[in-house]
């Protein structure tokens, strides 16, 4: 057991799987000699060699296409998009090929790959380095999209993603890469995909969130608790497919639902959760569902970036409307 940050837990999980399974390989821009621009792959090429940890030319389309080819032919590639904002050229290969490989060949070919990317805003990064773009992937059938929100969940969920027989998009919230540490045991125990994590139990309202916004959500829950309101906080973690059963169970208990995410609101994953709760549990609701999200705008450069993201004050404001 060792105390480590979320990004160190990512490195640990990658190393664990590289050591465990010779089919696993890591590829991407600057992942080898440099150890990744955030250091997520630090030391892996030295330990496993340049044939397991590959520096690629600067070409996202190629990385995605090569990864599909590797996965279909017996390898387990873990590709890195250097930032989520550079993932868009990869979408052709993800949507048209990775996501459909199993289905369109009736299982003859499969695509057991992981595409990792630092994700989200809040680190004063340059333009195109701060998107919260999980909804593009959540909308695509045939893939899983996962966003951990703590070191232990990053470790366990990344192991699960690598071992999953289907393609997984694994977004790492870069704002909390080094925000806090947890004890992580390198025991190779994967966490389940497709299951939410209840981070805090409460009877008065349910707050569903994911990624770095979990941090502000938990802080808001503490403030509410001091005011005598107990929030149940659920980390969605697997953005697609969604574990609706856990959310419905909680909402049936609390009767109130607040959804917090940093991605734009319009057709965001929060809309899917709200719609499904409305369909299946509307009679359990004591108040209309509230969403606190990023606005429907381009992520601002850093002078205004934090005004775009959900804040504790905005979450408390949403909770106040729910409890009114």
């Amino acid at each position: 057991m060792a105390e480590m940050t979320l990004i160190e837990a990512v490195t640990l999980a990658l190393a664990h799987e590289l050591a465990r399974d010779p089919r696993v390989l890591v590829l991407g821009e600057d992942v080898g000699v440099n150890g990744g621009v955030f250091r997520a792959t630090a030391g892996l090429q030295q330990r496993f060699g340049p044939e397991r940890v590959l520096d690629t030319p600067l070409d996202e389309t190629m990385i995605a296409g090569i990864t599909v080819g590797l996965a279909a032919q017996g390898m387990i590639p873990i590709a890195e998009a250097q930032f989520e904002g550079f993932i868009y050229p990869m979408i052709d290969h993800i949507v048209c090929h990775a996501a459909r490989m199993r289905h369109r060949t009736r299982g003859r070919l499969t695509c057991p790959m992981v595409l990792r990317a630092p994700w989200g805003g809040g680190i004063r990064a340059p333009e195109h380095h701060s998107d919260a773009n999980e909804a593009y992937f959540a909308h695509t059938p045939g893939i899983r999209t996962v966003i951990p929100s703590s070191p232990t969940r990053a470790y366990g969920l990344l192991l699960a993603a690598i071992r999953d027989p289907d393609p997984v998009i694994f977004f790492e919230p870069k704002r909390i890469y080094r925000a806090f540490k947890e004890d992580v045991i390198d025991d190779g125990e994967a966490l389940p995909l497709d299951v939410c994590f209840v981070l805090r139990e409460g009877a008065d309202l349910t707050i569903v969130s994911w990624g770095a916004a979990i941090k502000e959500t938990l802080e808001a829950a503490e403030v509410l608790s001091a005011r005598g309101i107990e929030a149940e906080v659920i980390d969605l973690a697997t953005i697609s497919p969604i574990d609706f059963d856990s959310i419905l169970e909680s909402v049936e208990k609390t009767g109130r639902l607040l959804i917090v995410h940093e991605a734009p609101r319009n057709v965001g994953v929060g809309a899917e959760i709200a719609a499904t709760v409305a369909e299946r549990a509307i009679y359990s609701l004591k108040a209309p569902i509230i969403r606190v999200t990023g606005y429907d705008i381009v992520v601002p450069l850093f002078k205004l970036e934090m005004n775009h993201l959900p804040s504790v004050a905005k979450i408390l404001d949403g909770a106040a409307q729910l409890m009114a």
Binding site: D55, G85, A125, E219, D296, I297, H308, A313
Partner: protein
């Protein structure tokens, strides 16, 4: 690479079956050559075959001054980042001749599609230093630079700007305007589909454009040799049917002369040109990078012996149009200009909160107006940051 050499690349392509089936005449071996131009050598001496530009000492002095100003600006920007007054910044150290050769050759009505470190080219075109600082200072208003209004904004996603330049060039061609689009891409960017698509489009339509590859040998941590198996990057233009050459990107005379020639050809509707400017990234990739992790200092030290400013200064001094006194005076002028730009940048108030909503659509959708009102209710910064 030797000065003024011609690199002949021979590829033995087995074409026999293609010839048999298509009936086209093809040889079994396909040859092409890539010309390499260097006039101003690293020691400041001039090669014999130098162009007319080498005699225009006033112009070369002006270019030297702009290169020197750009370097002063660059050092100041890094200092601002280190003291928390600027965000992540991409240095242009060592690229001054390539960038200023490009920008100074263009006419105001031409269209520039930069990547993100061509400040010298932009200064030559009228972009203000304070605007560059505003952009890297986390403020979109830096993209709204004063001059030239039709130039593209900085382009971070890599090589996508090459196709935008091709689109601009197609517009100029369709409208029969004597204008040229110029895009710039790095050595790493030539691996991307967008660059290769732009080469293809430029060749297929014979577009009035100049594609400049600023080959600074490093794409963050990936060296030029690991980027492609091609012997030169310029030869990627050959496949698209484009006139392609290499120049010493640290030689302002070669760079500017190659640009003048390429722009004149394009303006006369005689087709596109691809220029591979060979230079060296003397800095880290950005202030967020530490090149010591992947690059030998000996290589950097060696590159410093070929950097672009010193050779031009030696050249100008040898012709009596520059000396230590002028250098000292110009350094003071540069410091003053940069300090003024920094003061202008720092005096800019933070953008209004509504600014992040106001430019998304020509007419703001109703729902966005509601979100704008919500944002204005929460002017405080995020907690927990």
């Amino acid at each position: 690479m030797p000065a003024s050499s011609t690199l002949v690349c021979t590829s033995l392509l087995r074409r026999s079956s293609a010839t048999r089936h298509s009936g086209l005449k093809m040889s079994n071996s396909h040859q092409f050559s890539i010309e390499y131009r260097q006039y101003l050598r690293p020691d400041g001496t001039l090669s014999d075959a130098s162009p007319e530009l080498a005699t225009r000492l006033d112009e070369l002095t002006r270019l030297y001054q702009l290169m020197s100003l750009t370097r002063t600006f660059d050092a100041k920007a890094i200092a601002l980042q280190r003291t928390g007054k600027l965000g992540t910044y991409a240095s242009c150290l060592g690229h001054e001749a390539a960038h200023i050769g490009m920008g100074s050759a263009m006419r105001p009505e031409d269209c520039f599609a930069p990547m993100y470190r061509e400040y010298g080219a932009q200064f030559a075109r009228g972009v203000k230093m304070s605007e560059v600082l505003l952009y890297w200072g986390g403020d979109e208003r830096g993209n709204d630079f004063s001059v030239p209004r039709h130039d593209f904004a900085w382009c971070v996603p890599i090589a996508t700007q090459c196709l935008h330049a091709a689109g601009a060039a197609l517009a100029f061609k369709l409208r029969k305007e004597p204008r040229v689009a110029v895009c710039v891409v790095g050595d790493g960017g030539t691996s991307k589909a967008d660059f290769n698509s732009a080469v293809n489009a430029a060749g297929a339509w014979q577009l009035p454009m100049v594609l400049v590859i600023v080959n600074n040998q490093w794409a963050i941590s990936v060296p030029r040799k690991a980027q492609t198996g091609a012997e030169t990057l310029a030869q990627k233009g050959i496949a698209g049917g484009i006139r392609s050459l290499q120049v010493d990107g640290n030689d302002i005379i070669a760079m500017r002369a190659a640009m003048d020639e390429a722009l004149a050809r394009a303006r006369a509707d005689r087709g596109p040109t691809l220029i591979e400017a060979i230079t060296y990234r003397l800095s880290d990739h950005t202030t967020a990078d530490d090149a010591r992790r992947y690059r030998d200092q000996a290589e950097v030290d060696d590159a410093w012996t070929r950097e672009p400013l010193k050779r031009l200064r030696v050249f100008l001094e040898a012709r009596g149009v520059w000396d230590q006194a002028r250098e000292d005076l110009w350094k003071i002028t540069c410091a003053k200009k940069v300090d003024d730009a920094v003061a202008e940048y720092l005096a800019q108030p933070k953008p209004e909160l509504g600014d992040m909503f106001d430019y998304l659509y020509a007419e703001m959708p109703v729902e966005l107006k509601r979100q704008r009102e919500h944002a204005l209710r929460f002017p405080e910064l995020n907690h927990g940051h």
